[in-house]
Symmetry: C2
Subunit: 225 residues, 2 copies
């Protein structure tokens, strides 16, 4: 049967990027549908009625939503270039860190990004604590997945890239090379990997996008006080 | 090799219950270590340094934390009585609903529980919307897993039980049998399944516990206003 693989994404969604990278690593041909989130397509609403968000992967007519769920699906459907290790305990460890990135690292870094002054300083404390756990996890490894990019790298990868965007926008160093040598090296190695680099949106557009998002969040927070 | 399986839990943690049920369904012998969260054991802190929480499963000396990650581990390690279906798309669907329960249903129900008056009425709107999705998902099925209890049932199961506790404490019907006939039947069928019933903490103790938790949350919220 001819495979039909479609990916609903936006040009900038970091969550959708995880799926793009996974499909590229697996060497899967797919059709891209770029969504305008201010005017969502009927297909997107039909395929993801719960969240109405990208990414959605549609494989032979069947939709899957939620980026980490999609990564697991891709890994189970196309066995080449595995994203998760084989050993159950190593798989559990990978899922644990992917979830940690989602639940803790993301929100704590975002908090640093959208706060100012003393509040920003306070927000740095948990953010740095969370990054310290990742630094520990990288001991003896180039990637979280070992010698090659795996599940945790893809789950955290956009965050790695995002941190450097946010650092540029806010003018603040979060991942200091002296405090976080392994994480700094990982961010560089990940960003330099051809499959990642070739599928990352233009940095100047991302800066504009996230700068606007930050400004809007700060204005909204001030208005609600 | 003799297997060594230990579960760190508290008597009341609903997240730990997921793991208890999964181990019972699989027929795995294990040792239980009951933790006092006001005085955590050095072992718990060593095994789960990130969250310092229960449940933690330790299998042949190797720890796994986070209840849904533990369920996947259990299913991959002991193949009997599968919790997840075999088909990749069905597996993805199960993971999607388990995550939905975690991210959306839990917080929206909790919000109803700890609010009062008009705020509680407002909190009911998203809670009922989320439950409606679950109602739809149950069409044509006895359990989320089909004819037998599976991954999604365990992920949502404690929530099913919790809702009835909360209804009793607050004196409010959330899962109305007329609006949610399938979900009501599921809550009953799930609670009546021997493996679930035999491993559910005493209802009177749970009522006292959650009543105290609610009171403390309401006092804390009032103090921060």
């Amino acid at each position: 049967m001819a495979e039909e693989v479609k990916l609903f994404r936006t040009w900038s969604s970091p969550f959708a990027l995880r799926v793009v990278w996974a499909l590229k690593i697996k060497g899967i041909d797919y059709e891209t549908i770029f969504e305008d989130l201010s005017n969502k397509s009927p297909s997107l609403l039909q395929y993801n009625p719960v969240y109405k968000k990208v990414p959605v992967l549609v494989h032979n007519g069947k939709p899957i939503a939620e980026s980490l769920v999609i990564l697991e699906y891709i890994d189970e459907t196309w066995k080449q270039a595995p994203l998760l290790p084989e050993d159950p305990h190593e798989r559990a460890t990978a899922r644990f860190w992917a979830k940690f990135g989602e639940d803790k690292v993301l929100s704590s870094i975002w908090s640093v990004f959208i706060k100012q002054g003393k509040e920003q300083e306070e927000a740095m404390v948990p953010a740095l604590e969370n990054l310290k756990f990742l630094e520990e996890e990288l001991k003896g490894k180039k990637f979280f997945g070992g010698e090659t990019i795996g599940f945790v790298d893809l789950a955290l990868g956009w965050l790695g890239n995002l941190i450097s965007l946010l650092e540029e926008i806010v003018g603040l160093k979060v991942v200091d090379g002296e405090k976080f040598p392994l994480l700094s090296a990982w961010m560089q190695d990940f960003a330099d990997a051809p499959i990642i680099k070739d599928n990352w949106p233009p940095r100047d557009r991302m800066i504009v996008k996230f700068q606007a998002l930050r400004d809007a969040t700060i204005v909204a927070a001030a208005a609600s006080k």
